[in-house]
């Protein structure tokens, strides 16, 4: 059953639509593959679904550790974001190191050639 049309639902659905659009454009530019695009599509459609039908999460939530269904969604989103942030950090660090080594080797090799 659809809950009252609240601000959080407008925000969640607008943001999810934007993220779906971004995922689609990145897929078209071949920056992400079809599997990753499907994963993100599933994620953002799920967010829209949970925003409008939070009661579907009641069996999972069950009043055990979070008060409201949307709190559970936020918690899971935070965990996923933390993981992605960590993965990005590691990836960027690794790329930085590789670029540094490459640029250094090029500088020294170029000097030796002269």
């Amino acid at each position: 059953m659809v809950e009252a049309f609240l601000g959080i639902q407008i925000v969640a659905s607008s943001f999810s639509m934007l993220m779906l659009f971004l995922a689609f454009t990145q897929f078209k530019r071949k920056n992400i593959g079809s599997a990753e695009f499907s994963f993100w599509t599933f994620c953002w459609i799920s967010v829209i679904g949970f925003a409008f039908f939070p009661r579907v999460l009641d069996p999972i939530v069950g009043g055990k550790f979070v008060a409201r269904a949307l709190d559970a969604v936020m918690l899971v989103a935070f965990i996923i974001l933390s993981y992605l942030g960590f993965q990005n950090h590691i990836g960027v660090k690794s790329l930085q190191r590789e670029i540094e080594t490459l640029v250094r080797e090029m500088a020294i090799k170029e000097k030796k050639r002269k």
């Binding site: 930085q96 670029i99 540094e100 640029v103 250094r104 090029m106 500088a107 020294i108 170029e110 000097k111």
Partner: protein, 229 residues
């Protein structure tokens, strides 16, 4: 174990001067001229992706980074090149002219006395903004508390490292965290490195370049990681 007092004579000819430079323009030219007036040691300039590339002349060896990596990375490139070409020690100088080449003989003298690591620390001066002075002093105390080594000016980049000290102090910081990381590592290996510092005058060149408050805060956070790692 202290590795400072080596049995062989320490030759001044095997010291290279390394100058990382990014968009310094005429300041770099003036600095190289001043260095050559004070010493005949080989000078290695690392052009760290300057918009207008440094022009090669016969007075120095030029290494060029295709892209800007940062001061720490440029210093490492210069050191790797120097040590792989027979240098036994390197002296780092900033490319903007804030390090007076007249202090070079002091570095050489202390190196010949057997020091592995020589640091030139700027005396507090009224020409430097108060916030920088206080920040620098705070950083010295903070690093002392964390790593047990007190250096009066941890942000000065005017330093000599011999090959053995370089191997112990080799840094990961690509940008302005390099000086702080070097001191943090010096604290960790203080029993293995014979180090000294001597005072120099502060020459304050540019308030828009160099270490910013963001670099300082980042270095303070990184120092916790250096402590744990």
């Amino acid at each position: 174990m202290n590795i400072s007092h080596t049995s062989f004579p320490r030759r001044r000819e095997s010291i290279s001067i390394i100058i990382p430079s990014c968009n310094e323009g005429p300041r770099l030219t003036d600095l190289i001229k001043a260095v050559k007036k004070n010493t005949n040691l080989p000078v290695i300039v690392v052009d760290d992706g300057s918009l207008v590339p440094v022009r090669q002349t016969n007075s120095f060896i030029l290494l060029r980074h295709k892209i800007n990596l940062g001061k720490g990375a440029a210093m490492k490139t210069g050191a790797e090149y120097a040590f792989s070409h027979g240098a036994s020690a390197v002296i780092f100088m900033d490319g903007d002219g804030q390090h007076d080449p007249r202090h070079l003989p002091e570095f050489i003298s202390r190196y010949q006395q057997g020091f592995n690591c020589v640091l030139a620390s700027r005396r507090p001066s009224l020409k430097v903004p108060l916030v920088r002075l206080l920040g620098n002093k705070f950083a010295s105390i903070y690093i002392n508390l964390l790593f047990g080594v007190y250096v009066s000016d941890i942000l000065s980049g005017y330093r000599l490292l011999d090959k053995s000290a370089y191997k112990l102090l080799i840094w990961d910081s690509q940008r302005y965290g390099v000086e702080t990381e070097m001191i943090a590592r010096l604290g960790k290996y203080k029993d293995k490195i014979n180090w000294t510092e001597f005072p120099i005058e502060s020459i304050y060149i540019d308030k828009y370049k160099g270490v910013t408050i963001i670099d300082a805060v980042k270095a303070l956070f990184d120092s916790i990681w250096w402590k744990l790692s």
